[in-house]
Symmetry: none
Subunit: 251 residues, 2 copies
């Protein structure tokens, strides 16, 4: 009479989750790598990528007794561009504290909806920066928009493992609530980056940018390109047109 067996609701296997890449950039603490991998496994996300990790931390975390298969299978990259090359959407995370924000910033609930819609068809990268400074402006320049967990102004910076857990919880929580219409397929990060590089060259040759203008300007142009909806079906055409214009400018 006393024993009520409650039906437990487990997260269902979700093939769309297989398209998410959690990208940890310049992580220093092995415990945070382990914690991020654990939350991924809890919520059903298995593709971890690490960019330029503190090597001791990465080796230590990977070889720890009980390291999850997520961590053991983590892929290592030298640059953010390489780590997200196959992704159609790159989303940065940030406490957005004392810095100027030049991207659109979404709260997790709304951001998760957009990510889930995109995951139906194409890989999406979710980037987390280092414990001390978060993502660099250079890393941000590869992102389409930012996701920010709302915190107190007096204590904005979250622990890395906890931030990963909250974001993935939100992605898993809204899994069922997502609308049905698949969004247009977007160009890959690799194509978008090629377009950005060619555009930068065209802007330098034409005199729009100074030859010596540096990375802040490049980052601005990259953000500008990422705010375009460059679609997969159109990427080759845009790249071809730009190549031809470049060829003529160089002549």
């Amino acid at each position: 009479m006393w024993v009520l067996r409650r039906k437990i609701r487990w997260l269902p296997t979700n093939p769309e989750f297989d398209r998410l890449r959690v990208v940890l950039v310049a992580t220093r603490n092995p415990l945070n790598l382990g914690a991020a991998a654990r939350a991924m496994s809890n919520f059903g996300f298995f593709h971890l990528r690490v960019v330029n990790p503190y090597q001791v931390a990465f080796r230590e975390a990977r070889s720890a007794v009980g390291a999850s298969s997520v961590l053991k299978n983590a892929e290592e990259y030298q640059t953010v561009a390489d780590a997200i090359a196959d992704c159609a959407l790159a989303v940065g995370t940030s406490a957005v504290h004392n810095r100027e924000v030049q991207h659109r910033v979404y709260p997790p609930q709304e951001g998760a909806r957009i990510i889930r819609r995109k995951l139906r068809a194409q890989p999406v990268a979710l980037l987390f920066g280092s414990e001390k400074v978060g993502l660099s402006n250079q890393a941000f320049s590869h992102c389409h928009w930012l996701l920010r967990i709302s915190t107190r102004a007096d204590h904005a910076s979250m622990n890395l493992g906890q931030a990963v857990a909250v974001c993935l919880y939100e992605l898993a929580r809204t899994a069922k609530a997502a609308p049905r219409m698949p969004a247009a397929k977007l160009a890959s990060a690799h194509e978008v980056e090629r377009f950005s590089m060619d555009l930068l060259e065209a802007l330098r040759i034409s005199g729009y940018l100074q030859p010596a203008s540096g990375s802040p300007t490049d980052a601005k142009v990259r953000r500008l390109v990422r705010r375009l909806n460059l679609q997969a079906q159109d990427a080759d055409v845009w790249l071809g047109m730009l190549r031809q214009i470049l060829w003529k400018l160089r002549a």
Copy 2:
């Protein structure tokens, strides 16, 4: 023109949050005590109570450099009953794995709603068990119901600090549903058409299009441009860049 200052939404001070007591029972790892306190501070909950902690861990966590005021002000109790004595509602958390569940079990979103309603008038305790075994049946017996984060059946057990973060995130998130981010303002049809015309001219000068190519080709390029999400904030910059490239091509 380049710098967009985004308005950051901080969590507002919420007097109701002052009535929540986060109760950590038999915690062993000082890092988890620290992580729980940090998440509390991030989300605006300041009353931490520890029941029968592993003493070394508690002392260590409390005296750590940079320990938050939440941790420094934590209150210590010998029993769960003492720790929750002033609370009108006690909610246990559990992975509810291989054990019989004799309580009602709510997902975080629904549980958070009930907790928030109660917090308007009276203190509420949210209990978290030890890293290895969670809350004991004895501790559960003090709880009105359980809150459970939905995870994969194959990896149900969450890290303690991450579980605290997710629960408090959910409590803070539902405190006031965030207003929706307005959709990005798109460029006007006039600007889009100017961009299309300039692009067509650049494509002709560069030889990508034949000089005599006619309206079907023009229409294709126009559609291509319209599939970009040319945003109002960026329209002038794109037009300026294209003008400069055109000027150089004509030279």
